[in-house]
Symmetry: C2
Subunit: 416 residues, 2 copies
């Protein structure tokens, strides 16, 4: 291995990705699977919601004018000429001087313009005594008050929240037009690898990158596909690279050694646009294109693989999925417990722990130790123009736990 002759800056590599990624085409998904997906179009409602004036309380549909002057001391009688339940079409109109008993959600009958709440009426045989005035429109949900037919309820590009799915259901949307999820082929190479799930033995190790990458891709809105471990052979790697996929992630053999076949294969059959990035870990990262596929060459070392995914491949997966390119990580701004050193000219991805509100760097030298990323609470980036930070500098920590929680009324954790 003779090293890279040129190393691209990480920001330039991201720009290369950004220039080649846009949300994929539309597909329709059933409403029930739409949460978390991204709309390809703005959604306008074909209907008014509600589609009819309706009672917002249990009570009596009346003409408001018939209640004028009613009070506890001036109880006005109105004969009750019917009953209306939710979901039933009114068969009787409310004429002047009449009332119809009505339940919340039932359509307001013709003639009525208000609902007298049940507690404002006293039952007296076939009639009620009105105990209070109501004004026109009182306790009536107007047709279209939630959604007017033709109006836009959700914008293009929206990542659908649970309540958005509720609104789509309310307007009768059975199939939702969303960005197709990118298919991400995982090409895990290495003759020393056993498939995930097997116990390491002899001089073989179990594949850590496949399951890790599959989880990352799913998190970022992609569909990971993983065949078996790919042998370190030209034909086998080439076949895996040409799978039917939007993105191909190759793990292992990404450097410039004799056994590093993937860069040569990509250069020969597609374009190896970038090979070698000025960063640590993950220096031996490559990227390019093969047909319509974006191909990322990730180091086999699990920490470098995670870092290269975080900086590059994940950005592409999210962009194709229609999500923000940015990280799904929270940011904390906290002081360093110890100095954090780096080398000018390369980006450092330093795993850190947070203890008592202070940031502790984990040994940055252990680039190969995956457990450094499971002990870590997140990472700090040290840019190319920095030699690092002295103790007590407030730094931005990107927190690995992408599902943050906020305190509720009684804050408590189930496990403490």
């Amino acid at each position: 291995m003779r090293g890279f002759t040129h190393r691209t800056l990480a920001g330039a590599a991201q720009s290369w990705i950004d220039a080649r990624t846009a949300p994929l085409a539309e597909e329709g998904v059933p409403l029930i699977d739409a949460a978390g997906r991204v709309l390809t179009r703005e959604i306008a409602s074909p209907v008014d919601v509600p589609g009819f004036d309706r009672a917002m309380m249990d009570g009596f549909a009346v003409q408001a004018a018939d209640t004028t002057g009613a009070s506890l001391y001036n109880r006005l009688p109105l004969p009750v000429v019917g009953l209306l339940l939710p979901g039933h079409v009114p068969s009787t109109a409310v004429e002047r001087g009449q009332a119809i008993r009505i339940m919340t959600g039932a359509p307001l009958p013709p003639g009525a313009d208000a609902v007298l709440p049940a507690e404002k009426a006293e039952l007296d045989g076939e009639q009620i005594l009105v105990l209070d005035e109501v004004t026109p429109g009182k306790h009536v949900g107007q047709r279209g008050e939630d959604v007017v037919a033709g109006s836009v309820v959700l914008p293009r590009g929206r990542r659908l929240r649970p309540q958005d799915v509720g609104v789509l259901s309310a307007i009768g949307c059975a199939s939702v037009p969303v960005v197709r999820r990118p298919v991400v082929q995982l090409v895990i190479t290495g003759n020393e690898l056993l498939p995930a799930g097997e116990l390491p033995r002899g001089c073989l190790i179990a594949d850590a990158n496949g399951p890790m990458l599959a989880s990352l891709v799913r998190r970022d809105g992609g569909q990971p596909r993983q065949p078996d471990i790919v042998p370190d052979r030209y034909d086998a790697i080439l076949a895996a690279l040409t799978a039917d996929a939007d993105i191909v992630l190759v793990s292992g053999g990404s450097s410039v050694g004799q056994e590093d076949l993937a860069p040569a294969i990509l250069a020969e059959h597609g374009q190896l646009a970038i090979h070698g990035v000025a960063m640590r870990p993950s220096g031996p990262t490559g990227m390019g294109t093969l047909g319509t596929r974006l191909v990322f060459l990730l180091p086999g070392n699990p920490v470098s693989c995670l870092c290269a995914y975080d900086l590059f491949a994940g950005r592409a997966v999210r962009a194709l999925a229609g999500l923000s390119r940015d990280w799904p990580y929270r940011v904390a701004r906290l002081p360093l417990e110890r100095k954090l050193v780096s080398v000018v000219g390369r980006l450092d991805y330093a795993r850190v722990r947070i203890r008592e509100g202070r940031v502790e760097p984990l040994a940055i030298s252990g680039a190969s130790l995956l457990t450094s990323t499971t002990r870590a609470d997140g990472f700090v980036l040290i840019p190319e123009d920095s030699e690092g930070y002295p103790a007590d500098t407030v730094v931005e920590v990107f927190l690995y736990d992408e599902c943050p929680t906020a305190p509720c009324l009684n804050s408590s954790n189930s496990w403490t």
Copy 2:
């Protein structure tokens, strides 16, 4: 409807929930499905990772002592007696004064104690000329340097991240012991409802709560199950309440009107512990138990349904799933654009928008308008002892978008 005679404080209702919820029992899931799940046990490794000393660079396995004194001006010859590739068991030992060519990841052969990087050696026929000294252990990944057999790699209660799944794979874990996901039966009642996916017609409206609740339950780690819309009949609701589930969410008919059957059914066949909460919206919320099930009676009004889920049911789902009970919402602290009024004695759940860094309350009166929650960026809670806040007060906003993003090197959104 005569109103509630007693309303429980929201915090007391949460305490009732907390006293009755703990993570469910363990189930094993395949490694590939483990991300996001919660460990029921700490995981100790049955093996060392790596399970053997290995080369960390391409180069030559040597005895470090044989390189003593080597430099560009003192090239020391060593005969090359073999080649070792990753995944292959060494068949030859490195004797004093010998070298074996070795690739990254291959096991260090017996006798060798260091790897001389390829660029520190010059090939000369069947031998190399050593150009630099290496110290014992140099470029060697020691057996167990990532994980020592018997050591704990992940704690109980951990929500598994992608890199955690990688570590589990590295130690040969094929099935991961995680908290079972709670089964949540959705009981959507209302004779005026059409199933989700149907276009509203006549005086019927499409069910918004079923798809919304299903999405919320999934987000919180539960497994939603939704049968057809349940008719507003005693026998039909009772049958739906006794489904095989950990939690039952009833939408609609939760109040004290004549058509509100669910509270009576729950009181008769189980325990209706709380009915009526001092809050707005969602006052007509109930909760109790039926056999081993936790039952939540949520108002049919979609905004109240969302709010009651947020405050109560979601907390129970997350607790049973082994997650933090707290909200999966980010918190922003921002000033109010306008005053936000409330009534002493009840908790208010006010939907707000954020515009130019300021918090704009949306009309709090439109409790029935689901679009008020899709236009909103989040909500502000106004506690029972407050009349609200004047303009410019800095308030906590709980943001509906539960998947936050942090700026990457080149921050950009795919849709702008």
